[in-house]
Assembly symmetry: C2
Amino acid sequence: MATQRLATWAQALTYPDLPHEVSHAAVRSFYNWVGCAIGGSQHEATTIARNSLSPFFGAPTSSLLGHHGIQIDAQHAALINGIASHVHDYDDTHLDTIIHPTGPVASALLAVAEWKKGVSGEDFIVALVAGIEAECKVGLTVWPEHYDVGWHITSSAGSIGAAVAVSKILRLSTVQTSHAIGLAATQVIGLREMFGSHTKSFHPGRAAQCGLLAAVLAENGYTSSEKALEANRGWANVVGATKADAAQNLDRWLSVNGPDGLASTGSQVGRWEILRNSFKPFPCGIVIHPIIDACIQLRREIGEDNANPQSIKSVTAKVHPLVLELTGKKTPKDGLEGKFSVYHSGACGLLFGKATPAEYADGVVRDPKVIALRDLITAEIHPTLMPEQATVTVALKDGRTFTKDITNAVGSLEVPLSDEMLETKFIGQCMPVLAGQVHRASEACWAIETSDDIADIVQFLRL
Amino acid sequence: MATQRLATWAQALTYPDLPHEVSHAAVRSFYNWVGCAIGGSQHEATTIARNSLSPFFGAPTSSLLGHHGIQIDAQHAALINGIASHVHDYDDTHLDTIIHPTGPVASALLAVAEWKKGVSGEDFIVALVAGIEAECKVGLTVWPEHYDVGWHITSSAGSIGAAVAVSKILRLSTVQTSHAIGLAATQVIGLREMFGSHTKSFHPGRAAQCGLLAAVLAENGYTSSEKALEANRGWANVVGATKADAAQNLDRWLSVNGPDGLASTGSQVGRWEILRNSFKPFPCGIVIHPIIDACIQLRREIGEDNANPQSIKSVTAKVHPLVLELTGKKTPKDGLEGKFSVYHSGACGLLFGKATPAEYADGVVRDPKVIALRDLITAEIHPTLMPEQATVTVALKDGRTFTKDITNAVGSLEVPLSDEMLETKFIGQCMPVLAGQVHRASEACWAIETSDDIADIVQFLRL
């Protein structure tokens, strides 16, 4: 029943069914994904994939984001944009499963929307929601054993999300959507052993491509199981590892009646997973985020004019032990090391009021002014603090002191990134690639819901 | 170590390292695969895949077997030929793992060889051996738990075999081959729940494509784990289901020193899995094979002139209970039902001396002469017989009786298909597609080892 339930739910979902907060969460997820995909478009992994696979590119229908007008076939666009969107580990996170949900779904969806032409923003957003709900729900049914045993849940669940989303755009029937889910479920992508290599970013890209392929085959009558998720030798039982109640879990998470089930279109029963999606504000390890957050807020309190090594006497951070274990680098030498330095990161928060990819450029890490402020920062372990907490105190040379306690850093579910901060992140990622075009790109993405044709947006996302 | 060991072994393997029986087994495996791929080229699943994916086809470099001169990109050729080769469930079987080994490997290899041009038959055969050894060895490390839990081992291990084979053809270094293995290992294709739908045949095709993609990315510097098979969260542990000793097993099967390990190139230590590959002689359930085998042999003994309903008084088969349970259809109405009729199958063995796809055409099943002989056959269960055994007795009207005991049917490891029977099978599969060209195709495939360029063979395999 679970596969059919999911297919039926997805097929019936319409844009007017989405509460405003849900559609806005989808726009934010799309917006953040575009920034990540453009931000990662020049990365070595993206470049290798693009160059090595070019002999296979089919008729040009879909754009490579952040590139010079390059269009390729939708399958390869899904793969390569998906790689780019994850390669900096800067994409979104569904915290209940640590799925990065938008990568596999939006990479497939944008490629198909551009290929098929005339897909409206509303249709795109409802397909995105359907796909994200699908992958997060099936992820929840096998979490955490599935992840613990070694599956990269973003891609192993992601291909199913991509298949559901593309099935929506292609207007597949319920049976066809079930077959698409089956074809996606039988392609299980992503071992955690690959973390630390290019292959980690391959995972969401390949999941997008697998889901797209699944939907296209199903559209044309290629048959699959109609109980791929719940069958004895189906997805949940096979990849659920030691989880004995995988099938029961499917019933719980894919029911439209229960409070945890698929969100009901009319009556608000059920839960929208997309409302539990979160965005990383800073391109570095999450343990430093509370300190950066505190420093950015303190910059406003002490006044921008005082946020420099001339006015500041000392900065003291009380932190969780993991902060120094993972990011205790006192004298980082380049951008990459800067990401593992709470001192550099805190200094950027105070000096610039932000920590975007630009603040982790080699030149910034070696800037004497940054180094001077960095050297004024000390970090002390406080065993009673939680990882999401920190306290930062700035003492000015004029004798005043300012203290900021962070209980939950910005970017958490409790303190979500504002649209404004999301835009700062977007601009920081895209500026080096899109330059003067970045603001038009940002505007177009924010306005996606009013678009008659997604292709009109994409033109601003390539060069 | 296991991944590196496999990569090192594969990279070093040369054609002169192959004992004659091994290279001949590879030629037979290739030959049988070509017949299956051409035989399945007109199947609905193959047609749907070809039509629905045509918008994605890249530059034409590689042939679709059995089609009118169609060349497409190597990735899609691997996928579609792989689908075709498995769609009739008539391909080869490595009986220790029930992997159908040639599909994933040869589908990728032929597509790449044609694309790259100038690949010799010797290089092709050694790559095929490397790939088949790789997939069967890694399959053995997780067998049988991996299959039992629900993985279609042909494809879940097959992508690794395809990656190793293509890495050979592309002359990758050991490190690149390790990365290719990693990229293939992270794409785990095939749930058994899909059996009974088109998606079963999708599995070996997709595995071929995944392995090909993996090798191409690795060739260009896309990095992966170098211990993808053996790591804590690597392939064997993640897909090995409850198999606690997966890592130990890897050491055993991927050692070049042990008797079960990878075959040593010089000293003959180790075991060649390709010598344990078997070929199905008849396109029907394996339980009828002993009866067909007996009937074909009896035809020779009673004389072809007597092998008809005019001369035969009765035929009595003593069979294992499964034969009647699975294939007890007394009055089959069409070709598909004929495959589930021991009576029809036995009658064809006696009347025609063969049971190829042609004998399961609707017209043959409805042929009065076939029906007349079929009605003379009775089958009795003998509880002491093993499934691979049968005894068939033919009583002629002239009073003579002939009896044939089968201990192992032809096609088993004990009684391998002769080259001549393999050719009968090939012709039977290919004749409806290639017509007059079939004998040239057969000759070219048998002579693969002497070819300077695989493309010279492929020209006979399309129309």
